[in-house]
Symmetry: C2
């Protein structure tokens, strides 16, 4: 057992033990899907109206065709994007469109983007 000493934090817990365990396992599940270097960025590009392979690749400066291809497959099996092929067109056109379900990511993307922007300001402005 922990003895409390003067000065030591007196555990004003943010999460209960059960909440802590639940959050740990749930965020693990989320990051298993979203946690790569490119996954969320691909999703943002698609939500931003870039629905075609080369368009996405141009938007996400630096991603290789190989990575983009595997990310798109992952997003598809996770029901976040839908792949539509228009074979009648020349050259063939393939479209990746955000699913209705992908709307569920908006809270995460918004929270991440806001925090990222604000944190950069905080860290950059010689601290304190």
């Amino acid at each position: 057992m922990l003895k409390e000493k003067k000065g030591m934090a007196v555990n004003k817990l943010e999460y209960s033990q059960i909440q802590c365990k639940n959050r740990l396992s749930s965020t693990e599940d989320a990051l298993y899907v979203l946690g790569g270097r490119w996954t969320i960025r691909v999703m943002i590009a698609i939500l931003g109206g870039h629905t075609r392979f080369n368009d996405i690749q141009r938007t996400l400066k630096g991603i290789s065709a190989k990575m983009l291809s595997s990310e798109l497959k992952k997003l598809e099996v996770n029901l976040l994007v839908e792949r539509n092929v228009y074979a009648d067109q020349t050259p063939v056109v393939v479209e990746y469109v955000p699913t209705e379900y992908s709307q569920s990511l908006k809270d995460i993307i918004t929270a991440l983007a806001q925090w990222g922007a604000q944190h950069k300001r905080k860290i950059t402005s010689d601290d304190n």
Copy 2:
């Protein structure tokens, strides 16, 4: 220029071009800090009242001392945790407490945890 063809997505954009660019760069900044395998989990453990090295390590089944040590340093330089040493105690006690600023992560953690839990149910329940 893109010609619209029957059936093709008619770009009901979620984000404008500028929003898209901003979100891409802001989430990149966020993930630079939070994007590791352990970072968010360490933060959840600390917010859950596990403030000491070995306690955190026990809570986060699988993390090595090396990783935990480097994660804690990263969180410290990013002003998310504060390191307090109680050298008078034997053996010496070191405490990692969440800063006031770390409250800013709550939206992200909540959004991730909720999405992760819900997504697991969605994917597990033989789809559709």
